[in-house]
């Protein structure tokens, strides 16, 4: 504990912590945002062309078995980015998160009751409007559950990037380890947990905001 205080007493260290935290935030959340868009698009495609379902879900399962560490470093070799480019980590996490989200999105879209879509069609909704205003909103709770899982997992995964030099708070683990210094590691763990918690609360708030009917039902 005394070590933690001593560690935090240095202004330069605090500034470095802050910048690692910021790195961590965007490295973990940017992929989340991109993935939501990609997963919805892919989900829609699968929803319309059900034959693709098996293929996309199967692919997402395979993607899931690749170790993150490997993906972080294979990406630059495949797409020719710079080795230390944070894009590698962002892209890897985007791939994982999309794989994580596609399946629930497809299932949620398929689970929209037929009488609901029929009612919307009867009201004169064109397919595209029906998708945006009826089917997509109804699948938000499921999507939100997936996004929450994705955010927690991304926030904890970014740390692994420290092993290749782009790790946000993960750098605290490798640095602390080499110095045999528990303070930075403990602080890294606490900050990661706190970040996950804050983001999760924000996501729950956001979900409640966009699904007012769910709240009305609960009350």
């Amino acid at each position: 504990m005394g070590d933690v205080v001593k560690y935090l007493s240095d202004a330069g260290t605090r500034a470095a912590l802050w910048s690692m935290l910021l790195d961590h935030v965007w490295l973990s959340l940017l992929p989340l945002v991109i993935s939501v868009v990609l997963a919805v698009v892919l989900g829609l495609v699968c929803h319309r062309y059900r034959r693709l379902n098996g293929f996309v879900v199967g692919l997402s399962n395979v993607v899931y078995t690749i170790p993150s560490l490997a993906l972080f470093a294979i990406i630059p070799a495949v797409i020719g980015t710079q080795v230390l480019n944070p894009v590698n980590v962002v892209l890897a996490l985007t791939i994982y998160t999309t794989a994580l989200l596609v399946r629930p999105v497809v299932e949620a879209l398929n689970a929209v009751p037929a009488h609901v879509t029929a009612a919307a069609t009867a009201m004169g909704f064109r397919p595209w409007r029906r998708f945006l205003t009826v089917e997509l909103p109804l699948s938000v709770p499921v999507l939100a559950a997936g996004v929450r899982v994705g955010s927690v997992s991304n926030i904890s995964l970014v740390s692994v990037g420290a092993l290749i030099g782009t790790g946000g708070l993960g750098t605290l683990f490798t640095d602390g380890f080499r110095q045999r210094y528990l303070a930075p590691i403990a602080i890294g763990i606490v900050l990661t947990l706190a970040l996950a918690l804050v983001v999760d609360l924000l996501l729950v708030g956001l979900r409640n905001l966009v699904t007012p009917w769910a709240r009305a039902g609960r009350a």
Binding site: D3, K6, Y7, D10, G12, T13, A16, L30, I34, V37, L38, V41, L44, V45, R48, T81, Q82, V83, L84, N85, P86, V87, V90, L91, T94, R126, P127, W128, F131, A162, I164, G165, T171, T174, D175, F177, R178, Q179, R180, Y181, A183
Partner: protein, 295 residues
């Protein structure tokens, strides 16, 4: 249906271009050769301190400098220099030469440095070498040393387990056999002079490990350095390796001044202050620059 399809395609295109532009953004961020010098370092304390020292020194010339530390081994660092992720890195003459010239047999500081200048690929360059050195060294526990192991030559044939970083086997296993006729029961991968390596020696899972001469762990644990009479490990003077267009003449001059001011003892002291006394790399580097009257 047709309309839906069009919309899907448009949305997909948007998503793809969104990712694409993000990539460009970060890419240009790194490539900002227009003024910003990125100093990189490998993933061990001494190299990190040196990177901070270089960065601090370069700042005094008015350059915009950032530090990217803890990157990994030489192969990764050199690649990052070439693809412009980095501008300058603190390097070690011998290992760098062996990297550029696999067939190298030179070992003394001046020979190594001369050959290094010659072998450094176009676009990159090394500045003047520092008298400070941080060599690879094989160390054993005091007990092993007392049992008569003083030099690498005493390690014998198939007697001990050696612990070192992953690339050691590839670089040195053949050489140690050729020069000293020494083979090991096993070459264990530990880490590059970090806790795993030191603990392997302490708990006996390895009887010989590869550390670095400025490591604070050697003294702290009473480890004994083995002599290297046939100079297997080449000289390892500290030297700035840079991409020629990344640093201007003023910057190069101040880096030369840093190299002159550094000695092996000073370097070891800086490392100890970080690894043992838990001072920050940035503060230790700033102190050094102050006492050396740079900036």
């Amino acid at each position: 249906m047709k309309r839906t399809l069009t919309v899907i395609v448009a949305a997909a295109a948007l998503a793809v271009s969104a990712c694409g532009s993000k990539e460009d953004l970060s890419g240009s961020d790194q490539q900002a050769a227009s003024g910003e010098v990125v100093v990189g370092s490998a993933d061990f304390t001494e190299n990190k301190i040196l990177a901070e020292v270089y960065a601090g020194a370069l700042k005094t010339t008015g350059a915009k400098v950032s530090v990217k530390s803890g990157i990994g081994a030489r192969e990764l660092v050199v690649k990052a220099l070439q693809d412009k992720s980095l501008g300058v890195v603190p390097e070690y003459t011998g290992n760098l030469l062996n990297y550029f010239d696999k067939a190298n047999a030179k070992t003394t500081p001046d020979e190594v440095y001369a050959a290094l200048k010659e072998k450094t690929p176009a676009g990159l360059e090394v500045l003047a070498k520092s008298p400070a050195e941080d060599k690879d060294v094989l160390v054993v526990t005091k007990e092993t040393a007392d049992s008569g192991v003083k030099s690498i030559a005493d390690l014998g044939d198939n007697k001990y387990v050696l612990g070192a970083a992953g690339e050691w086997a590839q670089r040195w296993q053949g050489k140690v056999k050729e020069l000293y006729g020494v083979t090991f029961k096993e070459v264990k991968t530990t880490d590059a002079g970090g806790p795993v390596t030191v603990d392997a020696l302490k708990d006996g899972s390895a009887q010989v490990v590869n550390l670095y001469t400025t490591s604070a762990d050697i003294k702290a644990n009473n480890f004994v350095e083995l002599t290297d009479p046939k100079s297997m490990y080449p000289a390892q003077n500290i030297v700035p390796l840079l991409r020629s267009d990344a640093v201007d003449a003023k910057g190069k001059a101040v880096l030369d001044k840093v190299s002159q001011a550094l000695t092996t003892e000073k370097l070891a002291e800086l490392v100890k202050r970080v690894d043992v006394d838990k001072e920050t790399v940035a503060n230790v580097a700033a102190d050094f620059l102050k006492t050396a009257a740079i900036g």
